[in-house]
Symmetry: C2
Subunit: 259 residues, 2 copies
C-alpha cells in the first residue's frame, strides 16, 4: 500500500489576507503525513504591476503575461509570497522549501501556442519530475510551489496554480496515495449557488453527469471539476474542495470528488 501524500492549494483570497494566511498555515503545519503546498499570487501582482506602471490584462480570468508582467510575477509569486510563506512555515516547525518549476527541474511546461489569443509567457504543464520532488519529500522537506514553471531552455512561464496542483498530484500518484485539497472561498461545490450551506458532499462520475444534466454546475465551477476528473483519471485517489477548515477533523462539510 502506498504512503499518503496531501497536496493543498490556496488561492489569492487567503494569500492576500494576513490573518487568513496565518490561520491557514497553522492548519497546514498540523496536517499529518507528507504534504505539498501550492499557492497562487493574485491581486498582489496586479497592485505591484500597477505601481510599476505595468497594466494587467486578463482574458477569461487568465493573465496575459508579457515580459514585464512575467518579471512582476516572478518577483511577487516566486519571491515575496513564496519566501514569506516558507519563513512562516519554518516558524511553525514545518520544514518548508519554496520552489518554482525551474527549481530541481521539478515542473517543465510548454509556452502556450498562439491561437486566437497570445497569452505571452504562459506555460502549459508538460512534465512533473516526481522523482526530484520525492527526493525533497524523502529528505523531510515540505515543497511549497508557486505558480511558475519553466520550459527547460531558460524561460520561466506563468502557470495556473490549479493546473500545477493537479499535475503535481498526478505525477506524485506514481509513488503515493495522493489526495488534493483545493481550499477556496466556498464551503464546497454548492447545489444552490445562493446557499453557502448547500454543499454537495460527494461527487463521483455518475453524480457529476447528473449535476451537469440538471444544470447545477455553474460556469466557474465547470473547468475546476473537469480538471478534477482529469486528475482522478491520472491516478489521484480523491479530491476535496472547500474552505481551509476541511484540513481539520472538526469540519466534514466540504465536497469530496472521486471517480
Amino acid at each position: 500500500m502506498k504512503e499518503k501524500l496531501s497536496i493543498v492549494k490556496i488561492g489569492g483570497n487567503i494569500i492576500e489576507d494576513a490573518n487568513a494566511l496565518n490561520a491557514f498555515l497553522k492548519l497546514f503545519s498540523k496536517l499529518e503525513g507528507k504534504k505539498i503546498l501550492v499557492h497562487g499570487g493574485g491581486k498582489r501582482a496586479t497592485s505591484i504591476a500597477s505601481k510599476l506602471g505595468i497594466e494587467s490584462k486578463m482574458v477569461n480570468g487568465r493573465r496575459i503575461t508579457d515580459a514585464e508582467t512575467l518579471e512582476v510575477i516572478t518577483m511577487v509569486y516566486g519571491g515575496l509570497v513564496n519566501k514569506n510563506v516558507v519563513a512562516k512555515l519554518q516558524a511553525l516547525n514545518s520544514n518548508a522549501i519554496g520552489l518554482t518549476g525551474a527549481d530541481a527541474n521539478s515542473i517543465t511546461s510548454i509556452k502556450r501556442p498562439v491561437k486566437d489569443i497570445d497569452f505571452g509567457f504562459v506555460g502549459d504543464v508538460k512534465h512533473v519530475a516526481h522523482n526530484a520532488v520525492n527526493k525533497l519529500i524523502q529528505a523531510n522537506f515540505t515543497p511549497v510551489f508557486c505558480a511558475i514553471t519553466h520550459d527547460g531552455n531558460g524561460q520561466l512561464l506563468n502557470t495556473n496554480a490549479d493546473t500545477i496542483t493537479s499535475q503535481v498530484a498526478v505525477g506524485m500518484s506514481a509513488l503515493y496515495d495522493t489526495s488534493i485539497y483545493y481550499c477556496f472561498e466556498l464551503n464546497g461545490v454548492l447545489e444552490d449557488i445562493n446557499d453557502k450551506n448547500s454543499v454537495i458532499k460527494q461527487i463521483d462520475t455518475n453524480i457529476y453527469k447528473n449535476l451537469l444534466d440538471k444544470g447545477i454546475i455553474a460556469d466557474g465551477m465547470l473547468p475546476k471539476l473537469e480538471n478534477c476528473f482529469d486528475a482522478l483519471k491520472g491516478g489521484v485517489t480523491n479530491i476535496h474542495m472547500g474552505n481551509t477548515s476541511m484540513l481539520t477533523q472538526e469540519n466534514d462539510n466540504f465536497t469530496t470528488i472521486t471517480l
Copy 2:
C-alpha cells in the same frame, strides 16, 4: 579524505549584465564536482525600489532595510534574480535549486542589534544547517543562495552575500574539503590598486601581516580579507578571489588565500 565542494559567489556587477551573467553561468555549469552558488542582487533592487517610490538608504555600503525595502529585496533577490539564475542553469543541465536561508531552514540569522545605526531587517548569520544543505547536494541538486536569511520566527532578513558565502563554506567544511571562489570586478588582490595586472597570487597569514604593515591592503579589501581569514580559521581549505575566468583552467592569474 573529504570530497571537494566549491562555493562560488557573484556580485551585482555580474548579475546586472545579462551577457556577463550568461558567460559566468556557462563557466559555473562546467565546474566539476559538488558546488554551491551565492549571489547578491545589488542595483536592481535599488532601481525597482525607486520605481515603487521607496528611497534606498545606504550606510557604509550596507542597505538600511525597512519593511518596504525588505519586500523589494525579497522580490528582487529571492524572486527575479534567483529564479532566472535557476532557470538559466537548468538550461545548462545544472540541476539548480534556488534558496533563501528560510528554505530548508538552511541559514538562521539574528536581526542586527541597534547600536549607533538601526539597519532594520538585516541579519547576522547565526547557524548554517549543513546537514540540510547536504541533503540537497547529495540528491545532486546545486543550491543557489540569494542574500536573504530568516530568524526562525517567521521574519526574513537581508544578509550580506559575502558573509553568507563564508558562513555556508564554514558550515559545509564539517562535511567537505571546501573552497570559496569570490568572483569580483578585479583580477585579484592587487599590489598596486592602479595596476590591474599586479595580482598577488598567494596570500597566507604571514604575507597578509606583511601587506598590512606595508599599507598595501586598501580600505575596501580589508573587511573582505578579514572575512576570508575568519572562514579559513573556521575550516575552509582555501579561498580564491578574482574575475570569473578563474573558474577555468586557462586563467591562473588570481589570488589564493590560505592560513
